[in-house]
Symmetry: C2
Subunit: 302 residues, 2 copies
């Protein structure tokens, strides 16, 4: 079983407007609300692929109740750790005219030490085949919270900044920063050099998302660059979570890296075509699986 | 007593970010939530001036309960008409770097005919000295909803588009469009010509907000232009509501127009300096009252 952990879950509210213009008044034409947070999105993608997945997340207050109700309605296997604080909201603004996707994220409620301990206990009790730790750490969580969650088994860590750096001590099998996040934590502009730096610090493999340029993976067995067959426009919010879903599936099946990366790129594109984060266009996914180019390359070439 | 009516009340959530950039991810540094909707803001301003004011609004669901709780905590006299739908949210994004104020408004829940009838009955039962009708009509309200609410007594109508045009049949004493709203409903670019057109259609007086250029009032007793002493930067969201609060106070006291406009301009500036819509900087208000320039002018001059 794959388990995703979302310590800072959210109710994601998506507004559709003609065009988001700073300093203007907008009337949302469409308002959609559902459970969010990166780990929730990863679980949603895996669920739509028929994978055996369970999500563990925090939930509190009326917003937490709405998160719980939506997860139930979506048929996702979810284990929610009750917290005293009110679950945060994330707001996604989709502009139909220019296709921009703008996110406004609340920091989230502060977790008590006891609440954090329950979360860790729940995760470790499940002893998952692959553990996925996603998103920001909530206020109140220990700085090395992800290192404590990663329990020695195969795991993927998808976070940024200090939470990513401290999490490397837990020796995640894979970390998945984007190019900006990678530069931020290493100070290096070359993605391969930066990825090697994260491997030195504890990551087993580093998969870097390069947006329209696909993915580069720096692993113990080689470096690969996987590129999509076409550039897509749509809602890119959940693309990174779809990549993580593909990595988790590949790890759980012990697939070779080129195969994992092919699925990750195809699923990422399928997420861009999905209306909301966590949605994937399965027809695109299956078509694109045949078209992704994966090339092993000398590290200097990138 | 002044009564404000907000048929489409809201929970207003204000996010503070460094700079709102379309297509980017933002982490809100500060999240504040309180009851909103134009009529609620007007009541808040009047309450802070010590005026005898009561607000009547709709409220439903958990968001409506949060609106009710916040109004109680703020000490505002509020009469909430329960509705089956969930009260909407409005999101205000304040950018500290460039000072921009961006609004995202949900359309709001649909009102049933019975809920609308209760709202009208509550308003008419109060028989206010001045009735203020503010904001958009919720889905399900009759197109001429404001005309039905305005009951013959002194009244102010602050809305836009079709709701404004249809509301003129209720013969409001004052309407307060901004220049854009006035152009939209009349098709005329000259504010004075457009204001005269609205007077022909039923408005007793038309007060047009011109942003940093102050206010122009076209009334039965003359045309005036009131200008602030200085251009302010801040949160302009509640400036229009502060103008309406001043107009309501002036009508209830039967003050002459130049005095009403002086207060309206001063209070509008005080609202720009207030952190949230409905807040006013009373020190600025009292200073600025002495500094506003009000000039009667031939209509051709503007």
């Amino acid at each position: 079983m794959i388990v995703t952990v979302t310590p800072n879950a959210a109710l994601d509210v998506t507004y559709t407007v003609d065009s988001l213009v700073p300093d203007a008044v907008h009337r949302a034409r469409d308002v959609r609300r559902r459970a969010g947070g990166k780990g929730v999105n990863v679980a949603r993608v895996l669920h739509s692929l028929g994978a055996d997945v369970r999500l563990i997340a925090t939930a509190g207050g009326v917003t937490g109740a709405e998160v719980a109700a939506e997860l139930g309605a979506a048929g996702l296997a979810a284990e929610l750790v009750p917290i005293a604080g009110e679950t945060r909201r994330t707001t996604t603004v989709l502009s139909t005219v220019d296709g921009s996707v703008t996110l406004l994220n609340e920091p989230g409620p502060e977790l008590s030490a006891a609440e954090w301990a329950v979360l860790v206990e729940r995760v470790h009790r499940r002893a998952p085949d692959v553990l996925v730790c996603s998103g920001s750490l909530p206020p109140g969580a220990p700085a090395d919270g992800y290192a404590r969650l990663l329990g020695g088994g195969p795991s993927i860590l998808d976070t940024s900044g200090a939470a990513l750096l401290a999490g490397l001590a837990g020796r995640p099998a894979v970390v998945k920063p984007n190019a900006d996040e990678l530069r931020e934590v290493t100070g290096l502009t070359d993605p391969v050099a930066a990825a090697r730096e994260l491997r030195r610090r504890g990551a087993g493999a580093v998969v870097v998302s390069l947006g329209a340029d696909g993915l580069v993976a720096v692993t113990a067995s080689g470096t690969w660059h996987a590129t999509p067959s076409t550039v897509l426009t749509g809602n890119s919010t959940g693309a990174g979570d779809a990549v993580v879903a593909a990595l988790a599936l590949g790890l759980s099946r012990r697939e070779p890296w080129p195969e994992i990366l092919r699925r990750a790129v195809a699923l990422s594109g399928a997420a861009v075509l999905g209306p909301l984060a966590g949605d994937v266009d399965l027809a695109h996914y299956h078509r694109e699986l045949e078209l992704v180019a994966v090339r092993a390359r000398p590290e200097q070439e990138l």
